[in-house]
Amino acid sequence: MSLHLLLLIILIPLCGAFFAITAKSNSYSNKNVYNVAIWTELINTLLILYVFSMVNPSKTGIQIIEKYSWLSNPNVDILLGVDIFSMLLLFSVNISFLIAEIFMDRNIPRSQTLIASELIFISFLNGYFIAADIVSFYIFFSAVSAPLIILVSSYANLNKKNILVRFSIYNLIGAILLLVAIIMICNLKSNNIPLNTAGNVNIKGRMEYVVWLSIFFSFISRLPIWPFHYWISSINSSIKNPLVFIISNLVPLMGLYGFIRFWPNTVPKTIAVYAPFFEIICVITMLFIALISLSNKDMRYKLFAYTTVYYLLFLIGIFMPTNILKHNIGYSLFSYIIIVSVLSFLISHVETQKKQLNIYSSAGILCYMPRTSKCISLFILAGIGLPFTPLFWNNFIIISEIFNYNLVLGTFVMFALFIVGVALLEELYKQKDKTYATSSCIFGVDLSNLHFGICMVCILILFLSFFKPLWFVF
């Protein structure tokens, strides 16, 4: 008998969101709302761990399938299922949000909206990773846009309001293209098809172009690909709230995941002709955004550039003519998501303290907070390739395959990775530069014991994952 565990993973955050929405607007309820969010996420994470233990790592393909009927004409059933790759992403995303909720500042305005939208986003994102058929895949792919628009509208920079509309329309275009492609596939097969067979659909003629190009552009719409990167980069880098920053920077992950699931292992010849153009565009975007991050003084932009460059690295890995990189990408993403989440909060902590101390520039600010300095240094080093994180080893394999495929492509990719690493390191050095600091420490501005402890726990998770990727599966 099925325990509907996968459905529970989707529903639990929704229940939390419901509590958040219905709570009264006073200080006591606000505190409760945060606690509800933390407990919800904790329960969800534990449930994911439990489901993880039921998944067999040596088996490929979808496991633990749950089926729910939706419409009878057309006949559409909703399938939920997971494999190791999706479980890794699920676990890392939920851990990140759990960390985010613990780190979160309790005095944010409109906290109910924030928590409720965040939990709804988590729920839909979980559904996206759990979806095992193309229709439910689309449903969650598109549903995520709603809480995203709410969060971005609530917390983005006021100066970027015109970009919000373009950002939303860009997301909508992606959603519509995917819907058209999926319905075409369903009509061709006269039924909803499982996700793991989507790559093997045999389509002939002009429809082949339409379907695969639609799928392609729909997932591209989630990624900040040049020249369509501007509104994504504008919105993402202007968000001051770290939780919303994490959420908006997880959206490209959806595009990446979509490619992994949908993109056929043997690309049709008609489409394969265009693959080099796409690789060129990816590399141009990586270089472009990495170079801009050098002169952009905003640390958030640098972090955004870092996330973009790495997403594109993984995307190029997906397009390699080999199907052995999937798990490596999964393990890399596992550590990458945790690193980005923690960094986002640490940067936000620095910004908050900067405001409180009435400092204009962030130069030397880490001198006042030694613990924060240590944590930021560690996580930046982990992010740019410190050994003892899974990112290091798995990126080694991915880059190895890229070089095997094309030397020039690999060189430019490495150059972009280097530039974005230097951008982060330069900013780190600027913030640690003692010449601008008036004292060696200021009481009360550093990370609290709890937050520091969480950072150390994250480092431990990364360290243990380096030695045994699935150490947490019991």
Partner: protein
């Protein structure tokens, strides 16, 4: 009982991070020293008795093979390990003696961790262990430096070098489909892009070693504390570069361009190091250039010896470290005076110590020259011997600048530290024993020493001091400026141009204007059609009817 040295050292270094106050820090630091001595002794004993110690554990599996972390020292690797261990212990000893660090135990721990990682590098049988060890060593070096100004370029240069290495090794492992270092020689046969591989790897190694034109970041180290600077210069990046050179030379020699470049750069490194060693006023920078010149000689020797290491080369490296210690003592007993031009000709105090230092330096130089003679003779080429003579004479010139300084005043007393004498005794012991072992006490050595002392004391040499007043020479760093103007400035310029021209002007302004224009056109068309008068209503009815009528008529007629 076979004690696993590396594991013990790891635990000892972790223990060094425990913070229990100043008094406990001193005690822990000394305990670490004695444990290290014991472990070295034990290790040597095991080597002599032929006991094999080592470990290996499976870390991960990939399509390229099973990934392990290995430590199986062989006689060849012991030629690195033992001297390196010795130098690390010397560094710990000096740290304990000289009260420079607030937390000595942490400093000692970092040195031990560096030794462990370099040991893993030396014994690495797969690329991943190799790169991991390199990264760890770089990070430990950065942590050890602590100073932001000095470590900034150190980190970035090493990051670039590590990225190049990462790139090349990942590429190679993909092509030969193996992570095994011993299979590197097969790259020559099956590898592609040999020039690219050779050149990128050599750039990475040149940066790490700090050869001519890549040495800018090492100069920045001179801003850190002397002890830290000297430790990093000897035990960290340059050493890891040399170790990599020995391990990866198969990969370098796949390109025909490598060897000529290597030879030229080695020579240039030596001469640049020697010249600026004499011309620079700042003693820390002098030391950096001296190390550079010394490493130039080591590189030439390696090139002549087919990149294989030996006992003599290990000895040379120990000598290099001892030189650094002597320079530190010179600096210390000149009351921590940075500029040589401001150093005093001490006649009233510290005179004895200064002369002891001079004596030790002379014997050390004599030992150096003797070893160089032995090495050069065995290799059949005397170039490196002559270069060592030149370096020794330049050292004599610099010592002349210090010991025949026109300035004279009473030096202040240093803080009392009765332990300092042990440092002198220990160093003297090593130098004397080594001199005895390498038979550096024949007539030629005596003649050399005489010439050395003459140059140190002869007053005419002091005319070269005038270069200390040349501001351009003292303050500029051509290497840094080259990179600044060739790399950093163009990159920043391109970055700003892209940001302003493409992002701001094109994406934001132009696209927004275009969409606003389309919007305006749409609205104006809409209002033209959206009239509310009665004629308009009647016209719309007629239009609507026509829409129905025309298709009907078309169909009927067809």
């Amino acid at each position: 009982m076979v004690i696993n040295t590396l594991l013990c050292l790891t635990f000892v270094s972790i223990a060094g991070f425990i913070n229990r106050g100043v008094r406990w820090d001193k005690i822990i630091a000394w305990i670490m020293f004695f444990i290290s001595i014991f472990l070295l002794y034990n290790y040597i004993e095991q080597i002599i008795n032929g006991v094999k110690q080592g470990f290996s554990f499976v870390w991960n599996e990939s399509k390229s093979g099973v990934l392990t972390i290995d430590f199986f020292p062989s006689p060849t690797s012991n030629q690195f390990l033992v001297p390196l261990f010795g130098i690390s212990i010397l560094a710990i000893f000096n740290n304990n003696i000289f009260r420079y660090e607030e937390r000595k135990a942490v400093f000692n721990s970092l040195i031990l961790i560096n030794f462990v990682s370099l040991s893993l590098l030396i014994c690495a049988q797969n690329y991943v262990q190799l790169i991991t060890a390199i990264f760890v060593s770089d990070i430990v070096g950065y942590v050890l430096l602590k100073d932001v100004d000095s470590s900034r370029h150190y980190v970035i240069y090493n990051f670039f070098a590590d990225t190049c290495l990462f790139m090349v090794l990942s590429m190679v492992s993909g092509i030969i489909n193996s992570l095994d270092i011993s299979k590197l020689f097969t790259y020559e046969q099956i590898g592609r892009h040999k020039d690219f591989v050779g050149l990128v790897t050599s750039v990475a190694l040149f940066i790490k070693i700090g050869v001519f034109s890549f040495h800018g970041y090492l100069l920045e180290l001179s801003r850190a504390r002397f002890q830290r600077m000297s430790t990093v210069s000897v035990l960290f990046s340059p050493l890891s570069g040399i170790l990599l050179l020995v391990k990866l030379h198969n990969l370098l020699t796949v390109s025909d361009l490598f060897l000529p470049l290597y030879k030229v750069l080695s020579i240039f490194t030596f001469f640049t190091g020697t010249v600026f060693f004499v011309l620079k006023n700042n003693i820390r920078q002098k030391m950096v250039y001296f190390n550079m010149a010394f490493l130039g000689i080591i590189l030439i020797l390696l090139g002549e010896n087919d990149f294989s290491w030996g006992v003599l080369l290990s000895s040379l490296y120990i000598i290099l470290y001892l030189y650094n210690v002597m320079f530190f003592k010179l600096y210390l007993y000149q009351n921590r005076q940075d500029n040589v031009s401001d150093m005093i000709n001490a006649k009233e105090i510290n005179t004895d110590i200064m002369f002891v230092i001079l004596l030790l330096l002379a014997i050390l130089t004599n030992l150096f020259v003797s070893i160089m003679y032995n090495v050069s003779s065995s290799l059949g080429g005397m170039l490196s011997f002559y270069l060592s003579i030149i370096l020794s004479l330049s050292l004599a010139i610099v010592l002349n600048h210090i010991y025949t300084s026109p300035k004279a005043r009473r030096l202040d007393y240093l803080n009392k530290n009765s332990n300092r004498v042990w440092s002198f005794i220990f160093n003297a012991l090593i130098i004397v024993l080594a001199s005895y072992h390498f038979k550096a006490y024949n007539v030629a050595n005596f003649i050399f020493l005489s010439i050395f002392f003459i140059i140190v004391w002869i007053p005419y040499i002091g005319a070269t001091r005038r270069f200390y007043n040349n501001k351009f020479l003292q303050e500029s760093s051509i290497a840094n400026q080259i990179y600044y103007y060739i790399l950093a400035v163009p990159l920043m310029y391109i970055s700003r141009m892209l940001w302003l021209m493409v992002d701001t002007v094109f994406s934001e302004k132009i696209v927004e204007n275009i969409t606003a224009r389309f919007n305006k056109i749409g609205i104006s068309i809409f209002f033209k059609f959206n009239r509310k008068n009665y004629i308009h209503i009647i016209l719309s009815i007629i239009l609507g009817i026509l829409i129905f009528v025309i298709p009907f008529l078309k169909r009927v007629m067809s």
